[in-house]
Structures are given as structure tokens and as C-alpha cells.
């Protein structure tokens, strides 16, 4: 019986998720766009959850991997590089349009490589020392993106990269709308389905990881690194693996983001963005997949929805509070009150086998 209920629930949710953009589309593409961004954030939050939630490594610079993925894709699939380097322009007279199947893995791999690169020197660091180093790493990447327009114009500096190719899979260009039997699917709706697919694949990967030997080892490290080590867990390799995997997720989301927006600039990859992703993971329920997804959807979609709702409120207060201020105010209040009311997150992982924790002293 129970399994049957579960199956019905999953099928209903799946149907709802598949139909949602078609309904939203009726209200305007801006609403589908919000859903797209929410899905991208879910992807990011799932990736960070591997690092913070499973392995217990607080990463405050996660957006750097998002940026690396986005810039890798942006450089490979925009006219920027061939405009800058004459040699490239000669080799690719129509501009550099690397196919998705090459650009995406490259972006993901580069992000993963940087994840391991960041992980390696920080292996000995614990807790908040790690937090500050990752934060610094995020800032370093952002400053480089901002300033690498000279001596060689690699990233185009604060002006960012434009005209990035949209995603083309199996002859289908997601950047253009598609008509199926007289029904029109907007470009944003097509992206919605792509991102949804990616999220589903990621959830499956994460879920399998959680139950695997690797996942259990990560959680052992999170609970007590010294004990994990003495149990024969190779903490060095597993921590590096967590960093690398988390970063790869970030890289894929970044590439998707670049293709979806068609334009990227260092501004999108600020420290605040990293902080928000951490907030999503913690607010939803750290280390628990449904919680993480809930947190990401909530924090990503809420501000956008509020932007539309805030209009009337703004009129009520005589225009003193403009929409963006109000939005920020509500996010801050939501973060504080949710944490105060539910310190373990909105949808925390069920606690089993943690009875020792209650008796022991905590610091």
C-alpha cells in the first residue's frame, strides 16, 4: 500500500512539473523564466550539498565554479575569442561555435579541476578556516574575471561576454520557439524541460551517492574526521572527491546559465551569490535532498515572485519602499525567522542513529 501511495505521489508531482511551464507560459514568459532560474539554483544547491551537506566542508566560494563553467562555455561558444585573436579568426571564419557535447564537458571538467585544486591545499583546514579560504578563492576568481581584459583580452573584463550560443541538441535549437501541432513552445519553456531533466538526473546521482560507500564515508568524515580516518577511510581522497564533484555540478550549471542568458559578466558571480546558495542548502535542510530542493526553489523563486507582488504594497506605502528594497527586507526576515523556528531547516533529514549526540557534550 505504502509504496503505491508513494508512486502515485511521484507520478502526480512529475505530471505537475511537466505541465507547469505550459500554464505559466500563458501568463507570460517572465514566469517561466523564474521557474528556469529556480531549477538552475536547485542544480547549484544539489552540487553544494555534496560538499557542505554530505562531507561537511563549509564552502563559501561555490559560485566560483559556477563562474568557471559559465566562462568556459561562454568563451568556447561566443565570437569573443575569435574577435580577439586573429589566428583563431582565421581558423574559424564564422566565429567559434563549439558544439555543446564538447563545450559542456570541458566546462564541467575545468570546474571540477579547479575544485580539486582548491581542495588540495585546504585538506588540513577545518571548519571556519576552510570557509574563509573558499571565500577568498571565490573572490580571487571574480577579480581575475573582472581584470583579465588586459594585457590580453581574455574575459572582456566587467563588460562581460555576449552573443553566447544557445543550446542546440539533436538539431533542436532551444534559443528559438518551437511549434508542435499548432501549439507554440517558447524558448524559455524548452530550457525549462532541459533544466528539469538535468535536475532529475542530478537528484538520482545524489541519491545513489548518498546510499553508496562513498556517501557513507563522506558522512562519517562530516560527523568525526578523526574517527573516520581511524576506520580506514581515505579522508584525503574522499574530501578531494567531494570538492571535485560539487564543483562539477557548479560547472554544468554555469554552462547552462551562460547558454540560457546569452550574456555573462563577473557581476553575476559575487560573494552574495555563494552566500545565497549556502543559505538555500541550510535553510531547506542540510544533507537532505528534498529539503535542499525546497530551500533552493524557495530562495530562488520567492524574490522574483515578490517583485510582482511588491507593486501593490509599494503603492500602499506611498512609494517610500520600492520593490527591490521590500524584496530584500522580506528575504532577510524569512532567513532569520525560518532559522529561529526550525534550526534544522524546513525539511531536515530524519535523525536516526544520532542518540549519542544528545548525551554527549557539544561545543
Amino acid at each position: 500500500m505504502k509504496a503505491q501511495h508513494r508512486l502515485t505521489a511521484i507520478l502526480l508531482a512529475a505530471a505537475g512539473l511537466l505541465i507547469m511551464p505550459l500554464i505559466l507560459q500563458g501568463f507570460g514568459n517572465a514566469w517561466v523564466r523564474i521557474a528556469d532560474m529556480a531549477l538552475l539554483y536547485v542544480l547549484l544547491a544539489l552540487g553544494l550539498n555534496i560538499v557542505v551537506g554530505y562531507a561537511g566542508l563549509l564552502d563559501l566560494g561555490y559560485v566560483a565554479f559556477f563562474a568557471i563553467g559559465a566562462y568556459m562555455f561562454g568563451l568556447l561558444a561566443s565570437p569573443h575569442l575569435s574577435d580577439t585573436f586573429a589566428a583563431l579568426a582565421a581558423a574559424f571564419p564564422h566565429g567559434l561555435h563549439t558544439p555543446l557535447w564538447l563545450a559542456l564537458p570541458l566546462g564541467a571538467a575545468l570546474a571540477g579541476f579547479f575544485g580539486v585544486l582548491l581542495g588540495a591545499p585546504t585538506l588540513r583546514l577545518r571548519g571556519d578556516y576552510l570557509a574563509i579560504v573558499t571565500l577568498g578563492f571565490g573572490e580571487i576568481i571574480r577579480v581575475f574575471l573582472n581584470n583579465l581584459d588586459q594585457p590580453v583580452n581574455l574575459t572582456n573584463g566587467p563588460k562581460g561576454l555576449g552573443q553566447i550560443d544557445s543550446i542546440k541538441v539533436f538539431g533542436l535549437d532551444l534559443g528559438k520557439k518551437l511549434s508542435v501541432g499548432g501549439f507554440e513552445l517558447a524558448s524559455v519553456t524548452l530550457y525549462y524541460y532541459l533544466f528539469l531533466l538535468l535536475v532529475v538526473v542530478s537528484v538520482i546521482i545524489c541519491h545513489r551517492l548518498e546510499l553508496s560507500r562513498i556517501g557513507r564515508a563522506w558522512m562519517a568524515i562530516r560527523e568525526d574526521e578523526t574517527a573516520a580516518k581511524s576506520m580506514g577511510i581515505n579522508t584525503r581522497n574522499l574530501k578531494l572527491l567531494a570538492f571535485g564533484m560539487g564543483a562539477t555540478f557548479g560547472g554544468v550549471s554555469g554552462a547552462m546559465f551562460a547558454a540560457f542568458q546569452g550574456f555573462i559578466s563577473p557581476e553575476s558571480f559575487s560573494l552574495m551569490e555563494s552566500v545565497m546558495i549556502v543559505a538555500m542548502v541550510v535553510l531547506g535542510g542540510i544533507g537532505h535532498l528534498p529539503g535542499v530542493i525546497l530551500g533552493a526553489v524557495l530562495l530562488a523563486a520567492l524574490p522574483e515572485v515578490l517583485r510582482y507582488v511588491a507593486g501593490p504594497l509599494q503603492a500602499m506605502t506611498g512609494g517610500r519602499l520600492d520593490a527591490s528594497i521590500l524584496r530584500q527586507l522580506l528575504i532577510a526576515l524569512a532567513m532569520i525567522s525560518i532559522m529561529l523556528l526550525r534550526p534544522h531547516g524546513l525539511w531536515p533529514a530524519p535523525t536516526h542513529g544520532k542518540s549519542l549526540r544528545k548525551k554527549g557534550s557539544h561545543s
Partner: protein, 309 residues
């Protein structure tokens, strides 16, 4: 040579402001193991409060000398910031004392956004010029220049540090603070009231941040609701650099960070043959931090603490 001396002076001035803010981070961390993300915002509130007070006083008492106005505004800023931090701790951190470690971090981030937004509503989002209240003619010191404001910053930092050291090492409250940071439970058994000690720590940290905020504003001449972010971030870096939880470490970390940034920004162009410019100054601190932490995982003066999971 003159340039080097000038950069050293600038670095020390910058570093002493970092040190004041870093002390607040490190004291709070030492006692409840929390990165108080809203600390930079306390600095901002201090600076903006003093800006308002100065504006009011210049209208009400035009005869008052500049230094008096600055001093009074700083005192009021300290009181406001102290009260604010007291309330923040009570509302946002105290209820989460026994929660998972990341929960108070998120409320701290929320507080930081909340304070910035409230300040934006209260003080309007534009940049405000902070009046010059001290004589602005620089003094020559062996080929380099130093302004009276900078001298004040150095002097005030030294004074605050002396008072703080006395407070922590020679008073009853200080002993209670040290005991609580070592072990709150045992301290409570010895008659210390950890809650009161923690409140006191937050108030002291806020007063130091407010002093730093007023100095920052007086030195750079502008105030705005987002001004707390960068000093907060750098001071946090300084605190970790020196070994978080260690008062001396925060001071050393702050001063070193200031020097590294200022000298680094001055010479990076020459060192790299003009490839990297001074716009990389902001990441200099982080690169040094990463190198130092790789070699000494608990900071320059940090002790090797046993892991408390």
C-alpha cells in the same frame, strides 16, 4: 624610499582599522564559535549614526570645535552600535545556542542583509560625504605625509587596544570572558553567568567596530549603507589570518593585512612588469591568506586546538 614609507604609513592606518573590527570577530568567535556575519554592518551603523549626529550638531552648535563634534558623535555611535549588537545577539543568536552550527551562521547572514536594507531605508541609498572635522593639512614625516586623521586613527587604535587588554586580562569581567571561552559549562559551575558574559562580548565588539566605522568614514570621507561589507570581509580575513579566537592574533593579522595590501598595491605593477595592476590589491590579502593557512592551518598565532566536531 619615500614611497615605501608612505605605503607603510597607509598600511598601518588601514591595518589598525582592520584590527579593531577583527577584534570583534575574534572575541565573538572565541566565546561562541560563530562567524558574526553582521559585524561589518555594525560598523556601518556606527559610521552612519555619527554622520547624523555630526549633521545635527553642526546645525545646533556651530561654535563647537571639530574634534569635539567628532568625539561626541563617536561616543553616541558607540552607544547605538553597542545596543544594536546586544539586541542582535539576544534575538538572532541566543535562541540558536544549541542548534546545528550552521543555523546561527544563516541568521547572521540574514541579519546582515536586514541591517543593510534598514539602513538603506533610514538613510537613503546615496553616498553621503562625511564632513572633514580635523585639520586636513598633512604633516611631513621623513619624506612621507600623514594627516591628523590618520594620526588620530593610530592613536585611538592603540588606546582601544590598551583598554581592551586591561579589560580582558585585569578585570573580573575579563576573567569571566576567558573562562567562558575555554569552557562555558565549567565556567557556569564556577559562578560565571555565560549569557551575561556573551552579551558583554557583543557590546565590546560593537564599540570597537563603531570606533573603526567612524575612523573609516573620517579617513575616506564618504558613508553609505553598503560600506560595512569590505571592512567586514577584510577584518574577518585578518582575524583568521592571525588565528581566530586569539586577541593578539587579530591585531597582528589586521596590521599585517593592511601592510600587505598597501605595499602590495604599490609594488605589484613593478614586480610583474605592469602585467598586473593595483586593481588586484583586493585579492592580495586572500592569496597571502591561503598561503599562510596552508603552512599554518590555524593561523599565525593560533593554537592547535583539538577538533570539536
Amino acid at each position: 624610499m619615500d614611497i615605501l614609507l608612505q605605503q607603510i604609513i597607509n598600511g598601518l592606518v588601514l591595518g589598525s582599522m582592520y584590527a579593531l573590527v577583527a577584534l570583534g570577530y575574534t572575541m565573538v568567535y572565541g566565546i561562541i564559535n560563530l562567524i558574526n556575519f553582521a559585524h561589518g554592518e555594525v560598523l556601518m551603523v556606527g559610521a552612519l549614526t555619527s554622520w547624523t549626529v555630526i549633521g545635527l550638531m553642526q546645525d545646533a552648535t556651530p561654535w563647537a570645535p571639530g574634534w569635539l563634534i567628532l568625539l561626541l558623535s563617536m561616543l553616541i555611535a558607540c552607544v547605538v552600535a553597542g545596543t544594536l549588537n546586544f539586541v542582535i545577539e539576544k534575538v538572532a543568536y541566543r535562541p540558536l545556542r544549541n542548534s546545528p552550527k550552521l543555523a546561527p551562521l544563516i541568521t547572521a547572514i540574514g541579519m546582515s542583509i536586514l541591517l543593510q536594507t534598514l539602513a538603506m531605508i533610514l538613510w537613503k541609498p546615496n553616498y553621503k560625504s562625511y564632513p572633514t572635522l580635523l585639520p586636513s593639512t598633512p604633516i611631513h614625516v621623513g619624506g612621507a605625509l600623514i594627516t591628523p586623521t590618520q594620526i588620530l586613527i593610530l592613536g585611538l587604535t592603540a588606546l582601544s587596544l590598551a583598554v581592551l587588554m586591561w579589560l580582558v586580562h585585569a578585570t573580573k569581567l575579563g576573567r569571566a570572558m576567558r573562562a567562558t571561552s575555554e569552557n562555558p559549562r565549567v565556567a557556569a559551575l564556577m559562578g560565571v553567568q555565560p549569557d551575561r558574559v556573551i552579551s558583554a562580548t557583543f557590546v565590546i565588539g560593537a564599540v570597537l567596530a563603531a570606533i573603526a566605522g567612524v575612523m573609516w568614514a573620517a579617513n575616506y570621507g564618504t558613508v553609505q549603507h553598503s560600506m560595512g561589507f569590505l571592512p567586514g570581509l577584510k577584518a574577518f580575513t585578518a582575524a583568521v589570518f592571525g588565528g581566530i579566537g586569539n586577541l593578539g592574533g587579530a591585531v597582528v593579522g589586521g596590521l599585517l593585512l593592511g601592510l600587505i595590501e598597501s605595499i602590495g598595491a604599490g609594488y605589484i605593477g613593478d614586480l610583474t612588469g605592469g602585467v598586473l595592476g593595483s586593481n588586484y590589491a583586493d585579492i592580495f590579502a586572500f592569496i597571502v591568506l591561503i598561503v599562510v593557512l596552508t603552512l599554518r592551518p590555524s593561523g599565525l598565532l593560533g593554537e592547535r586546538v583539538a577538533d570539536r566536531a
